[in-house]
Amino acid sequence: MKRDEIDDRLGALLKEHTPQAADSNEWFTRKVLNRLPPKPKRSYTWLTVATYIVCFAVCIMVWLWFFLSLTPGIILVKDVVVAAILVAVTVALLWYVLRSMLRSSEAWW
């Protein structure tokens, strides 16, 4: 629907003479935030952190074992496959931890 001259004049008239919201209302946002449901408590946070630490420790030990088990100067297909799996598992673990930390960032800080 194309606007014509009457639309423009009506629009200008209504904008000028209809109620406007106050430019600032510092209490409005606070009232809204106070009315939001409380954040769920994460009572299992310490358990989650302990699990992450154990997982990272195991990951590091597996990497160390992998490097120690390599034959110097020789790379086998098996080594490549194991390395690829370790990289995938490490990346997945890092991503999961970062996502959990982002979700609970307000609880932490």
Partner: protein
């Protein structure tokens, strides 16, 4: 006014991190638009508009994970606001309060402090049906295109145009001397 990128970042923080700070910034960005929308629907009732606007943002927070980004966030927010207004109207009709509440607002709302043009505009807007008033507010005051008004109100575009056309004729007739 938030840019699209800033808005997306804030929404991501709300969805992934349940960040109240990010949601507070979104509320601040859209507060005056949503409040103005309700002020025009309720004929200037500050307290009611404030309440409805708060309810809108609370519903937006509760449903924010359902926002898929297919429309702009602003359109989605207006849709919640529109539905909130109609929920209020339904409750009012169930309580048999009728249109007297709006008429009382027109009379009680510092009428003496309003200019003649403001009184004329308010009287003209009051003569419209609820749907016409909503469509007029979205088209003329919020400057939204027909397609978005149709998304917000759930009415087909043809119905929106029909409401606009009738409202425009009525307003033009009543506000002849002001337009």
């Amino acid at each position: 006014m938030l840019s699209r990128v800033e808005e997306l970042k804030l929404l991501a923080r709300c969805v992934l991190g349940d960040s109240r700070d990010a949601f507070g910034q979104i509320v601040e960005a859209y507060r005056s638009d949503i409040t103005r929308f309700f002020l025009n629907l309720t004929m200037g009732d500050d307290a009611l508009s404030d309440d409805l606007a708060q309810e809108t943002f609370i519903k937006a927070y509760l449903g924010i994970r359902g926002f898929r980004g297919l429309s702009k966030f602003r359109t989605w927010l207006y849709r919640i606001a529109y539905n909130e207004y109609y929920t209020y109207l339904r409750k009012r009709h169930e309580e048999h309060l009728g249109d007297d509440v709006i008429a009382d607002n027109l009379l009680a709302d510092g009428h003496g402090a309003m200019s003649d043009a403001q009184i004329d505009v308010r009287t003209a807007m009051q003569s419209l049906s609820e749907q016409q008033r909503a469509v007029v507010t979205l088209f003329y005051i919020e400057d939204l295109p027909i397609r978005k008004i149709s998304d917000i109100t759930g009415m087909p575009q043809g119905t929106v145009k029909s409401h606009l056309s009738r409202a425009k004729a009525k307003l033009a007739q009543l506000l002849e001397k002001d337009v």
